[in-house]
């Protein structure tokens, strides 16, 4: 029972992180019909920004400000940094290719991913770095349920993900920006003719998606501690799976898919085999795609964003 609940918690926490990254994939796919392969690397950059914020305020052992304030700073700075990065990527790499054949922006996305990953390698080296979270956030506090333990970082991840997702849904459903995003998603040309600023809408979509990735980067740094220049690819791939399993283009789908993938991974890690956990996740993806080629929420969600 203890193992079961602990696995459930682990699955939920990783699932939340995947969900946050998947939101960026799904939103960008909604408005541009583009698989943004560079998104995983944006997440990685977010994790690095968080690391340097810790160093900036004196390092894990000699923090010059209170821990809650530090976390707020990390989230805000990383979110803004990756948001600006996402907008820059859209502006300079994808916008010139709006009317090019479909394969061209895809290759550009691969190129951007290459450049981001190797730039980080060049600037900060190939070795792993650690947040050393346990030095400033004790991992013994938190909640105990039936022998399983949920520490404060994990609680924060789940709560923050829930808040962000709720905010995003409200944004898409209730605001003018959300309305124009939905309009661009359903028909870009028609939206442009109706006076919607398409460029601005797409840029803002990239901004929001990248902020989510940056926040996910910081939180995964706090939770798993080690970061390196290559963490983006696999995390991006898993998040991508999440977006697809949920039905790419659908926000609910991305969140559900993220948590689903997180659970699958956690349960196969603790109950089946560590070696095959990635393979199981990919197998689930392929099976889902074959049973429901548009993902679980793909058809029902008419509002594709």
């Amino acid at each position: 029972m203890q193992v079961f609940i602990q696995t459930l918690v682990n699955g939920l926490v990783t699932g939340c992180l995947y969900a946050l990254i998947a939101l960026g994939y799904t939103m960008v796919y909604g408005v541009l019909k583009l698989l943004n392969f560079a998104h995983g690397d944006v997440y990685m950059v977010g994790a690095y920004i968080g690391y340097f914020v810790i160093q900036w305020f004196g390092g894990p052992n000699h923090l010059s400000i209170p821990v809650p304030l530090l976390i707020v700073f990390m989230l805000v700075i990383a979110g803004l940094g990756t948001g600006v990065l996402g907008v820059a990527i859209e502006r300079f790499a994808y916008r010139p290719l709006r009317d090019a054949p479909r394969i061209a922006p895809l290759i550009t996305a691969l190129g951007v991913s290459f450049v981001l990953e190797n730039t980080v390698l060049l600037l900060f080296g190939g070795f792993q770095r650690s947040y050393n979270t346990t030095d400033f956030i004790s991992d013994t506090n938190g909640i105990h349920i039936a022998g399983a333990h949920i520490d404060s970082v994990e609680i924060m991840i789940v709560v923050l993900t829930a808040v962000l997702c709720y905010g995003l849904v409200q944004l898409v459903d209730r605001t003018t920006l959300g309305k124009s995003m939905r309009a661009v998603a359903s028909d870009r040309e028609a939206a442009e003719m109706l006076g919607i600023n398409v460029d601005r809408t797409i840029a803002l979509t990239f901004f929001i998606g990248s902020v989510m990735a940056g926040v996910a980067g910081v939180m995964s740094g706090l939770e798993f501690q080690t970061i390196s220049a290559t963490i983006g690819f696999l995390a991006g791939l898993k998040a991508f799976t999440a977006a697809v399993v949920g039905g790419i283009g659908s926000i609910t789908g991305a969140v559900f898919g993220g948590i689903f993938i997180g659970m699958c991974e956690a349960f196969s890690l603790s109950y089946i085999s560590e070696k095959y956990s990635d393979l199981i996740v990919f197998g689930i993806l392929i099976a889902t795609m074959l049973i429901r080629p548009t993902g679980i929420f793909g058809r029902r969600a008419l509002q594709k964003v």
Binding site: P101, A104, V112, F114, Y276, L279, I286
Partner: protein
């Protein structure tokens, strides 16, 4: 030939623009007069001449790998170029071919490091190709239910799953992370191909034969049907084209050629490892195809050769220097017109550098104490021009960021401001190159490759030799 429904003058003006003037005209004339088999023969002759005259073993190996990438991108071209199926799992077929060859040419299937299966290459490679084609049929059948990007995603996972499988399943036979090693060289008919020159010629023959067969396929009914499928599957099926059959066929042909490439790769390397078949290699193959021009046989071959040649040049610091400065000069020359402005900018860059170097040197002598990373005549030419401090790493990192920002700014500004901005940008890029980029050739290669991909896609979304085509939305 004027197009139907288009004003005659407009139609002819398009034709005139295609013909161009001056040397472009000459090229155009040549281009229309030379038949495809003459081009193929000419290219093959050039290949043979290279193979016979070169005695440098490294160059021959580079030549082999160039041709290997040409084979791989020819295979990918069938699925991704002609039929428009975005197959991101292609690398799994390559890996399948390589592992298949390895199993049939090593002690892997034997017990205790002896025995095993040792087939002649002319038996094992066809087996591997047919088996690869059958796997392609399987994946193709799976892919029938999926469209467009969903296909890309599922195939991407097929590629990822392949690496996981060879890493984890049956380590006794497949070797896990250690792979399979000490493979037989290509052998058969009591002959044995193991020298770089021999391998080069094998690859050359394979490329030539493939190009010939693929050209026949391209101009056949099947080839036309594939292109119809790519442009509009719905319209194609309305015209009674068997869409499903063609999709499966495209997958299996592409897989068979991928497996052939994989087998040749395994034979040349003499070993196979899971890391040989990761996504970054797939990206490299896609880069070959897309740079050369998806859908064009000549483009796929040229792309393979160019990309690998670039990769090799970037790996050696001297050649990388030529490439870096050469590309900058070429870009400036092509983009800055009229000619006197180009020379003015060039002179501006040179003077700017010497002045900056003199000023900084006068303020602090340690700021210019470092040595440029380039050796040879480039190194001595730029020694008193670029600013390289004693401890160059941190300085180079800041410069790198600065250069990226400047280049992005360059794209935004127009006219005289752009000309003025070019001068410091190029100079700082040179400083960054000499102090930081050239020190880490492996990372620099990857960055340059990514940049080349992005720039090529922005400048020519259809590749170097690809034809422009209208997308029906």
């Amino acid at each position: 030939m004027p197009q139907i429904g288009v004003d005659e003058w407009v139609a002819q003006s398009g034709e005139r623009r295609d013909q161009g003037t001056g040397w472009r005209r000459v090229l155009y004339e040549l281009d229309t007069r030379v038949a495809w088999w003459q081009r193929l023969a000419l290219a093959a002759l050039l290949g043979v001449a290279f193979g016979l005259t070169t005695n440098n073993v490294n160059l021959l190996t580079v030549g082999f790998t160039c041709l290997l990438y040409a084979i791989l991108s020819l295979g990918l071209n069938i699925a991704a170029g002609w039929s428009g199926l975005l197959d991101l799992g292609y690398i799994a077929f390559v890996g399948f071919g390589a592992y298949g060859y390895a199993l049939f040419s090593s002690t892997a299937l034997g017990t205790g490091g002896s025995g095993g299966v040792h087939l002649a290459a002319f038996i094992s490679i066809p087996i591997v190709m047919i088996a690869g084609g059958l796997v392609g049929v399987l994946i193709g059948l799976v892919a029938l239910r999926l469209e467009g990007d969903y296909l890309a995603i599922v195939t991407l996972f097929v590629g990822q799953a392949f690496v996981e499988i060879v890493n984890n399943v049956d380590p006794g036979t497949l070797g896990g992370v250690n792979g399979i090693y000490s493979l037989d060289s290509l052998h058969g008919f009591s002959g044995n191909v193991s020298t770089p020159r021999g391998l080069y010629f094998v690859a050359l023959i394979v490329v030539a034969v493939l190009a010939w067969l693929l050209h026949l396929l391209d101009t056949s009914r099947t080839g036309r049907a594939w292109r119809a499928l790519r442009d509009d599957p719905l319209a194609a099926s309305a015209m009674t084209i068997p869409v499903n059959k063609l999709k499966v066929m495209a997958f299996s042909f592409s897989a068979a050629i991928g497996a052939l490439g994989g087998a040749l790769f395994a034979a040349q390397q003499g070993s196979v490892f899971p890391t040989n078949f990761t996504e970054s290699i797939l990206i490299l193959i896609f880069a070959c195809l897309v740079l050369g021009g998806a859908g064009s046989i000549a483009g796929a071959i040229a792309g393979g050769i160019i990309v690998w040649a670039l990769e090799q040049m970037l790996a050696s610091p001297t050649d990388a220097g030529y490439l870096f400065y050469g590309l900058i000069l070429l870009t400036l020359f092509l983009r800055i017109r009229p000619l006197w402005k180009f020379f003015a900018v060039l002179a501006g860059i040179i003077v700017f550098g010497f002045v900056a170097h003199a000023i900084v040197g006068a303020i602090s002598s340690s700021a210019t104490a470092g040595h440029p990373g380039s050796s040879g005549w480039i190194g001595s030419a730029v020694k008193n021009w670029v600013i390289v401090p004693h401890d160059a790493i941190g300085y180079g990192n800041i410069l790198f960021i600065l250069v990226i920002v400047l280049v992005l700014a360059l794209i935004r500004v127009e006219g005289t401001a752009r000309l003025l901005l070019v001068v410091p940008t190029v100079y700082l890029a040179a400083c960054c190159w000499e102090s930081r980029l050239i020190v880490n050739p492996a990372i620099t290669t990857q960055i340059m490759l990514g940049v080349i991909l992005i720039v090529t896609m922005a400048a020519r979304p259809n590749g170097l030799l690809g034809t422009r085509r209208v997308e029906v939305v």
